[in-house]
């Protein structure tokens, strides 16, 4: 049985989400984006095994929102690329909104790993590791030699390794 003081997610949402939305809106200047960010903040809390103890719920929520706003710009770019690739899919393969969100998050992690690589190296690596294309196929698609695909792959692997391992 929950006591009246128990901070259920529902209660936190009711008490603080309008406030959070207005704070985020002032920062990003767009009501729609603000609603998305607030939604993501609570999705993140929903994903936790239990509601975290928040001494200062608003500071806690604002901190998550802040991180999400920084990610937002980057995600917009990724999302656009992802949507462009979806546009090539038959309609019956379109993902649900939740799956779409998961994918965008996975892409954001990958994007951070590949940050700093030359566009072609990036492209070669993504075609191989995300699309599962063979080296000869990638070489044909990008009109480069097989050995340059191999060099790009080695460079990308080394780069990711160093980013991941620090």
């Amino acid at each position: 049985m929950l006591s009246a003081a128990e901070p259920t997610l529902e209660r936190i949402y009711t008490n603080h989400s309008p406030w959070l939305r207005s704070v985020v809106r002032r920062r990003v200047g767009c009501a729609e984006v603000a609603a998305d960010v607030v939604h993501d903040v609570f999705m993140r809390l929903l994903g936790k095994a239990s509601v975290p103890v928040m001494e200062e719920p608003r500071a806690y929520l604002a901190r998550i929102a802040h991180g999400l706003m920084i990610d937002h710009r980057r995600r917009q770019v990724l999302e656009r690329a992802w949507l462009e690739s979806l546009a090539k899919l038959p309609e019956d393969e379109m993902p649900s909104p939740e799956e779409h969100l998961q994918m965008v998050e996975a892409l954001a992690r990958i994007d951070a790993l590949l940050d700093g690589l030359k566009p072609r190296v990036r492209r070669v690596f993504l075609l191989s590791r995300l699309e599962g294309k063979s080296y000869p196929l990638i070489a044909r698609e990008l009109d480069v030699s097989l050995s340059s695909v191999e060099k790009d792959m080695a460079q990308a692997l080394r780069h990711c390794y160093l980013v991941l391992m620090g």
Binding site: D92, L130, A154, M165, G166
Partner: protein, 81 residues
Amino acid sequence: MDEDCHHTDMCESVLDQAIAWAVALDAADADDMTRGAFEQWLQGDPLNRIAWCRLQMVEDEFARARQCRAGCRAASRRSLR
């Protein structure tokens, strides 16, 4: 082994070897002989195993994204049945 994967220092040349193997095994013509030679390299030195294991962490990141995408497609097909 898991702990080994997190060692911070990795000899550059061992890392280069691990990467070269990853690329060689990827190549379309990676045959039994290549695989055999790779196994030999892998078992030849604990440092090689550590480098390989750590390189797999990079691969895991991409495997996750791939699964996620495959899941997207499978789920949307299911929902339309």
